[in-house]
């Protein structure tokens, strides 16, 4: 039986994430939303969502003793980071005056207006295109290059190693909107709110054998 755990660290509601995962998971799967390190460590696959501010995300992870657990499972299991669950995988975010993050990907998270100086509405809210930069990544199977996903964010990733960008999106600048290496895939958009293509990505994650 496939055990899928959605990590709960009090950052935003996980109802939609859980429902979307249930929608695409194989029939015999067990889906749990949990903040218990034991449950997380015992999972076959990890979904790591998040919304809100970087400082709060990191504080909530620390308060639950989950930093090391997340680092551990991110290195050992199929791992899907979503939205803030992607951003905190980088080394540092300039949000809230500067916050050190988990450092699983080298690079930084910056506000759109730090990078792009012209008037740009933030948050970026709505459906934008993701261009596949790792064309053969299994999570893009059946999803058109340039398919639109639902985004809500004011900060974006700046990668040190551009080869780790799996997808890119344009909003004022072109930025990495999906990151991938080894068993980790992380996406800035919300697949659980991105209609058929979002569900397809989640389904691909369920079948992924990194």
């Amino acid at each position: 039986m496939l055990k899928i755990v959605v990590i709960d660290y009090n950052m935003g509601n996980l109802f939609s994430v859980r429902k979307a995962v249930e929608h695409v998971a194989p029939p015999a799967s067990k889906i749990e939303v949990s903040s218990d390190p034991k449950v997380i460590m015992a999972a076959d696959r990890i979904v790591f969502p998040g919304q809100g501010a970087a400082r709060d995300c990191i504080q909530e992870l620390q308060a639950r003793g989950l930093n090391e657990v997340v680092r551990e499972v991110a290195l050992t299991k199929p791992f899907l980071g979503v939205c803030m669950g992607m951003q905190v995988l980088l080394e540092h975010s300039t949000e809230n005056g500067g916050v050190d993050c988990l450092g699983i990907f080298q690079g930084e998270v910056k506000h759109f207006n730090e990078v792009y100086r012209e008037r740009l509405k933030t948050p970026q809210m709505g459906w934008n295109e993701i261009y596949h930069t790792q064309e053969n990544h299994p999570l893009w199977t059946g999803i058109a290059d340039g398919a639109r996903f639902y985004f809500v964010h004011s900060y974006h990733a700046v990668l040190k190693d551009k080869a780790l960008a799996s997808g890119e999106t344009e909003y004022g600048i072109r930025y990495p909107s999906a990151l991938a290496k080894d068993n980790i895939f992380a996406i800035q958009a919300h697949p659980e709110k991105s209609a058929a293509d979002g569900l397809k990505l989640l389904e691909n994650f369920m079948n992924w054998r990194p």
């Binding site: 429902k19 934008n128 964010h153 209609a195």
Partner: protein
């Protein structure tokens, strides 16, 4: 290419049922929120807004069940408005699967609610709904005031200044409804949306007055809106969302087409 403009059908919900005619040929039960939401999703709606018009506070819980039921089956963003007065109301909606809540009258009477809510839940889920009505006389510079209680009472607050203040308080988006145009089918008050979007740097949803597809396109092209909200033209079967998106795309507007 980049971020698409959005079309948002708005559904009125009374005691857990969608009201004010939804005429879809393939829908068995015109009042079922899940069936209607699924249909709009198939047509390519970019988001859905549910406006709870339940009068009795005893039946307020019904909207929570509606949101849960829809969010379990339809995987696009959902906004809930109507009767949101305190942090606890917001938490309940978000936990039920809403992505955003829209705050209207409560923001006018307690602007701090917007600051607290955006600080607590994040700006991305806080929409401030502004019902604005022209108060300037013929020949005077245009001026709008914020109205409350469904457009019946003026607050005396200048709508443009209010929009700016709400953005500063952390609103993630503004839903701007022209009370002069609402229900008229003669198009958005484009001067209103333009005046706000020129001053405020958060996304704006235009609402009130849509009677045809050109009105939707004008909201974006001339009013500067990031999204357009409409109810009756979709519910009464005059146009499908698919047709509306196609039309807007033909006018050169970037849309999500599938």
């Amino acid at each position: 290419m980049g971020l698409a403009k959005r079309i948002i059908p708005c559904l009125d919900v009374d005691n857990g049922r969608v009201v004010k005619g939804v005429n879809f040929v393939d829908i068995r039960d015109a009042g079922d929120p899940v069936e209607i939401a699924a249909r709009y999703n198939r047509e390519g709606a970019d988001e859905l807004t549910f406006l709870d018009i339940t009068a009795s506070s005893d039946n307020r819980e019904t909207i929570v069940h509606v949101v849960e039921a829809v969010a379990s089956e339809v995987f696009i963003p959902l906004t809930v408005g109507g009767g949101i007065r305190k942090l606890e109301d917001i938490r309940r909606m978000l936990n039920a699967g809403a992505d955003k809540v829209s705050i209207n009258t409560a923001a006018v009477f307690n602007p701090e609610l917007v600051r607290e809510a955006s600080g607590y839940f994040g700006s991305q889920c806080i929409v401030v709904a502004i019902d604005a009505k022209r108060v300037s006389q013929e020949g005077e510079p245009l001026r709008w005031e914020v109205f409350t209680h469904g457009g019946r009472k003026t607050s005396g607050i200048d709508a443009i200044e209010w929009a700016e203040r709400m953005a500063n308080y952390g609103a993630g988006e503004l839903l701007v409804t022209s009370m002069d145009r609402d229900g008229t089918k003669i198009g958005f008050d484009l001067a209103l949306t333009k005046a706000i979007t020129d001053r405020v740097n958060i996304p704006l949803i235009a609402s009130g007055g849509v009677g045809n597809l050109q009105h939707l396109a004008d909201g974006v092209l001339r009013g500067g809106a990031d999204a357009v909200l409409a109810a009756s033209i979709f519910h009464f079967g005059e146009y499908t969302v698919t047709e509306a998106k196609q039309f807007m795309a033909e006018q050169g507007i970037e849309m999500r087409l599938s």
